[in-house]
Symmetry: C2
Subunit: 399 residues, 2 copies
């Protein structure tokens, strides 16, 4: 019998509690030990809730109880999660977390502390919700150099973009609808502006490269400038627009970014729609692997958290191998990265061609403007030329 | 330094040799130990090949060398692979294999023998080539009851069906083309008739259920009866035809099958085309997870084999948890399983409706016959009615 404590009885925390109760026997069979939730920590009370009997308000009770082998941190945010997790690891407990902010900011340090105690710091649910992606990178794609990771890592923005794509709706009304349905927060900035996705791609990039990728150094652009007219052009090109987190080996180094991109129908992430997440990992031997599933939601995320708990029980006093050092990975300057751009402008074709040279025009029947695709050029060069020409907007083309 | 031996220097074996050499340093970092191929076993000679220095023709040299900790079996087939693998495990070595025949037939027994020596019998590459699917089932989907596994598990048949779909070609000429390109064997029966796929779904079903599913008891139907006219109907329905291996909890028990099925555009496997494989796993908590990648090919398959070797090194004297007992799982009779059928017949609508009741007609403009979709009925009931009516063909509808 292994005793665990859950920190935070919100959406994910209550899901973890429910799964451990509902699937008790099969989890015991998989873990090799029965798992019992000895404590749930929350500031609130939950009268009548099944967690009531194990609810505590003081973290020290958990920290000082040597029976608690595994701490499940599902509070989110950095404060007090970071201090709580560090204290648990220092007390010789393993920690499983769904907290992408914590992992993106302090992952390498917490892995090191866990290792020093022969314990584990596991965070499968911090990226891609229920989708196995951390464990495949750590435990499966171990014979390959990982050349690229490209993911639809945020369900809210994917829901909005899918709606805009399928229904021709504009951004503002789609966002409002998503908020009404609970798919977007009242304060949607973290999702819409890519701040959620950038932490997730930083985590994946750090694991793929074995060094720390600082999410604050990753070029980040959200979807709030994407319009229904952009989708009209996209349709003409047989493409869709997705918010992609990317980390890729390019000529001069590793380039990482979060930005909306135009994706062709042949791309394996083209059909990843709605709140679903999808992640492509390219290895130098295995080629392209694609992982698709629920990127958020109570039970999918909690399922991934509990799979970490099972893993922690299986490796109770053995630190599993996670390659992620505190040493920083210097990213290649994003402005050097080359790609095709789709551009909308009010300029005339003579100016377009004199500045951008060989371009491919896209006629979506929008009057008063011209759409075109550039040759493959660097971000830097593109900005120069775009400034010179004057443009309405531009979207990067994937691939 | 961990010493390994490769049994069989065919496509996969030479791929394993190449990856261990090419990605040596990163594999050493991931495994925590350098890995050296001490022997390659093959009956043939390979003058000038890099394997030449370590090539042996006598298995006993490997078996009796205590330095060899891990045996990599990539010969395929049951003889002599089964005896070789059993002997290696009995000698206290771990075994990694890509051999689906061996795993489907003797998996549970070989896992038991490995466990009894605190060693591992690993077989990630036996299903889905380079796609991580065995390890996710064993190590990730551990908090969920697995309700369904549905997979495109054979690249050859998927290549043929994709060609027929996209190009309107007929079966015979597409098969010939696939053979000319090396995507289909000269003797294509194992692929075409589903004998390859049925072993793979049996392995996945056994792991999902923890008991042995006998592949010989799984209903198996290949694609050799699928015609270009079937694809014309499929197009009219906005569907495609895929050969699916399935294992699903239905009302009265677990139903397993391999058969061509009509898939709608919304199905996550609809866009898995060409030689690519795709597998959907449905958990009772996590929902649908989809894994897509190269299902065959030298380097993708070898990559999965080497990932097993890394895993075996990480767990050198610890048996990792694999839930697959020798006890047999009694499958529910396939004839009781219910679904919609798409039917082609020369009978008239009066007879169709008097026998099948409420049907939905599909007009693909094919003269001299009628296409229709039945209500959801059991295989058994369908056969009775189809016999009574007289039909040209029928394809099961997925979902």
């Amino acid at each position: 019998m292994i005793k665990v404590a859950i920190l935070g009885y919100g959406t994910v925390g209550s899901g973890v509690f429910e799964i451990i109760r509902e699937n008790k026997d099969l989890i015991a069979a998989n873990a090799g030990e029965e798992i019992e939730v000895k404590y749930v920590l929350d500031l609130r009370d939950f009268p009548g809730d099944p967690c009531e009997n194990v609810l505590v308000h003081d973290y020290n009770i958990i920290l000082e109880d040597p029976e608690v082998e595994i701490v499940i941190e599902v509070m989110g945010g950095l404060k007090p999660a970071y201090d709580f997790v560090k204290a648990a690891l220092d007390a010789g407990k393993s920690v499983c977390t769904s907290n992408k902010e914590l992992v993106a900011k302090h992952g390498a340090e917490l892995i090191r502390i866990a290792k020093s105690h022969n314990r584990n710091f596991l965070f499968e649910a911090s990226v891609g919700g229920g989708i196995p992606i951390i464990r495949p990178i750590n435990m499966h794609i171990t014979a390959d150099k990982i050349c690229e990771i490209t993911g639809i890592l945020n369900g809210t923005t994917n829901y909005i973009l899918t709606k805009m794509d399928k229904e021709g709706a504009d951004f503002a009304s789609t966002l409002k609808q998503a908020q009404d349905l609970g798919y977007a927060e009242r304060n949607p900035e973290a999702d819409i502006e890519g701040f959620d996705a950038v932490r997730k791609i930083a985590i994946l990039a750090s694991l793929a490269k074995g060094k720390t990728v600082d999410f604050e150094e990753i070029y980040t652009e959200g979807i709030s400038n994407i319009t229904d007219i952009d989708f009209k052009y996209a349709k003409t090109m047989n493409k869709s627009i997705k918010l992609l987190g990317k980390c890729k080996n390019e000529d001069d180094g590793v380039v990482a970014s979060v930005a909306p991109r135009l994706l062709s129908q042949e791309h394996p992430l083209y059909n990843v729609n709605g709140v679903v997440n999808g992640i492509l990992v390219r290895g130098n031997m295995v080629g392209d692997l694609v992982f698709i599933g629920s990127g958020a939601g109570k039970l999918p995320t909690a399922s991934a958290v509990v799979s970490d708990v099972v893993d922690a029980v299986r490796h109770l006093n053995v630190s599993t191998t996670v390659m992620w050092d505190e040493e920083k990975l210097e990213l290649e300057d994003f402005s050097k990265s080359k790609k095709h751009f789709f551009v909308r402008t009010k300029a005339d074709k003579k100016d377009i061609e004199s500045i951008f040279g060989n371009v491919e025009y896209v006629d979506a029947g929008i009057s008063g403007e011209t759409g075109f695709i550039t040759e493959k050029i660097s971000e830097e060069k593109f900005s120069e030329k775009a400034d010179k020409l004057g443009i309405i907007s531009r979207i990067r083309i994937e691939g």
